[in-house]
């Protein structure tokens, strides 16, 4: 039918499983170890974090992402799982002052780190200025990407102030200006399918004290 993939295309039977290749092959030493690993309890490790100012010690399956540690273990569900693959930004939290995708980092890699989630920025009765601006400018609709947008927005204003360059900075040898063009570029790792971008830019401009 087409070059390169011929043999497979004509096969009418397909056997699958993610581990199929290893299992179908000869059972070498590596596979024996794997089989043992399957029946034993998965490896765990301890980690101590400071989450929204509160010291937290967790004993976790090493596979647990920071996102799942927050949502499923600490029950801080404000941080959202939109894609679990670093493609949407809904899981954005601030770790040691920097925003990251909490889905693409293991909790056990954050020993001693300070994590700020959306719950740590403000509460319904005491909103952070960025949270208040999102409400005022209707910078959301379904609300699912919103915690990530807000954590990112808070960090983005700091990044611009700190002089971190961006893709739209005209002259990277100079500090970036505080403009909504800079904000839009820097916020692009936070997808909002409801399409609240125009309003989010206005909310951020208000907090930054610049013209939208």
């Amino acid at each position: 039918m087409t070059e390169g993939y011929g043999a497979i295309s004509r096969r009418d039977v397909l056997k699958t499983s993610a581990t199929g290749a290893a299992i179908a092959g000869s059972l070498g030493p590596g596979n024996v170890a794997m089989a043992q690993a399957q029946t034993a309890a998965p490896p765990h490790a301890a980690v101590s974090l400071k989450i929204n100012g509160k010291a937290t010690r967790l004993e976790l399956d090493t596979r647990t992402t920071l996102l799942d540690a927050l949502r499923e273990h600490v029950k801080l569900t404000g941080t959202k799982k939109g894609c679990d693959h670093g493609q949407c930004g809904a899981c954005t939290v601030i770790v040691n002052g920097r925003r990251i995708n909490s889905c693409l980092t293991l909790a056990v890699m954050h020993e001693g780190d300070e994590v700020t989630t959306i719950e740590g920025l403000g509460s319904p009765d005491n909103l952070h200025p960025m949270q208040a601006a999102f409400v005022e400018h209707d910078g959301y609709q379904c609300g699912y990407c919103t915690p990530g947008q807000i954590c990112s927005a808070v960090a983005v204003l700091e990044e611009i102030r700190a002089g971190v360059p961006s893709h739209v900075t005209a002259d990277v040898s100079k500090p970036s200006p505080m403009t909504t063009t800079e904000m839009r570029e820097r916020m692009s790792g936070n997808i909002c399918r409801c399409g609240a971008y125009s309003n989010i830019a206005e909310a951020m401009a208000q907090v930054a004290g610049v013209k939208a």
Binding site: Y5, A21, A37, Q38, A45, I100, A155, T169, G189
Partner: protein
């Protein structure tokens, strides 16, 4: 994701030795690509050695000129470094064109070089893929190939290397400095660091088992206008259809490397010499022997036109 044991490395050499000696062991630094692939069981390490505590996060001047970038310098910090912004603008530009702010805060210099292809068939474990499962075939050939490679590919694999940073490093003639499990070190020119797929697309770099990147050295600044032009379907947070890294002097001479078109940052030194002759000559040389597919043949036109845009910008 398969279960794995986890440890924090104590020294670079120790980490290298352990990865070499332990079946299924892998380094983890930023983790943004490795964990993504582990969730899909495209990567299946059984032991992770976290190298984040090893330092290697400084950018230092090299005696006689140049910069040495620690393997663990985050993309954000590399882009924001005043020396890089002043003397290696193409590198800053390439870095900030890649991924998102969040990812750049985590992703490291070494990890960026080592990131794996974004070919959608590589990412779908139900599909044949010689890179993921050697010998299984290449579903991308004859399939949806729009984002994939047009040159340097083979009949076993048409994946592209997704990095922006590496394209800039290629035009800057960087070298990748490593430590081996026996403690010896070496410097690998970036031109030789990534390998072409041939019949072994699962082999992607010149690294030996356990060999670990400790830094990337940039030679003395290359004067001229530094440009990184990334072309994509949406304005940000997307991989390149085509990208062009260029450093071009007032005399119109310089160097150019391309991303989004090949399994590695694509540079042909003879093409550099053709820069004063214009984009068509350069593109013709860069793409001599290209094997585009129906879906991605536009990349040849796009590359030529993007080089033209870069030359116009350099002239302006």
């Amino acid at each position: 994701m398969r279960p794995f044991t986890y440890e924090r490395a104590t020294s670079a050499q120790d980490a290298a030795a352990k990865v070499a000696a332990t079946p299924g062991a892998r380094f983890i630094a930023g983790g943004t690509n490795l964990l993504d692939l582990m969730k899909l069981e495209i990567e299946t390490p059984t032991h992770l050695i976290d190298v984040n505590g090893l330092g290697m996060d400084k950018i230092e001047a090299i005696d006689g000129g140049g910069l040495r970038i620690g393997a663990l310098v985050r993309n954000t910090d590399l882009a924001a470094d005043a020396r890089v912004r002043k003397d290696y603008g193409v590198l800053t530009r390439a870095l900030v064109a890649g991924a998102s702010g969040q990812l750049r805060n985590k992703a490291t210099t070494a990890g960026n070089l080592l990131q794996r292809t974004r070919c959608p068939y590589f990412y779908d474990v139900n599909m044949p893929c010689n890179k993921r499962k050697p010998g299984s075939g290449c579903a991308a050939i004859g399939g949806f190939s729009r984002p994939l490679g047009v040159i340097g590919t083979s009949d076993a694999c048409i994946a592209t290397h997704p990095s922006d940073m590496a394209v800039a490093m290629r035009v800057l003639d960087a070298s990748v400095e490593t430590i081996r499990p026996d403690g010896t070190t070496r410097a690998i020119p970036i031109a030789d660091f990534h390998t072409l797929p041939g019949q072994t697309p699962h082999v992607e770099t010149a690294l030996e088992k356990g060999e670990m990147i400790i830094s990337v050295a940039l030679p003395k600044p290359r004067g001229g206008t530094h440009i990184y032009r990334k072309v994509r379907d949406r304005a940000s947070y997307a991989f390149a259809l085509v990208s062009v890294a260029a450093v071009i002097g007032k005399d119109g001479k310089g160097a150019v490397a391309l991303g989004g078109v090949a399994p590695k940052p694509w540079r042909v030194e003879e093409a550099d010499a053709l820069l004063p002759k214009g984009s068509k000559s350069v593109a013709d040389r860069l793409f001599a022997g290209a094997t585009p597919r129906e879906d991605n043949a536009f990349k040849l036109t796009l590359a030529q036109r993007t080089i033209a845009a870069v030359l116009a910008e350099a002239k302006a």
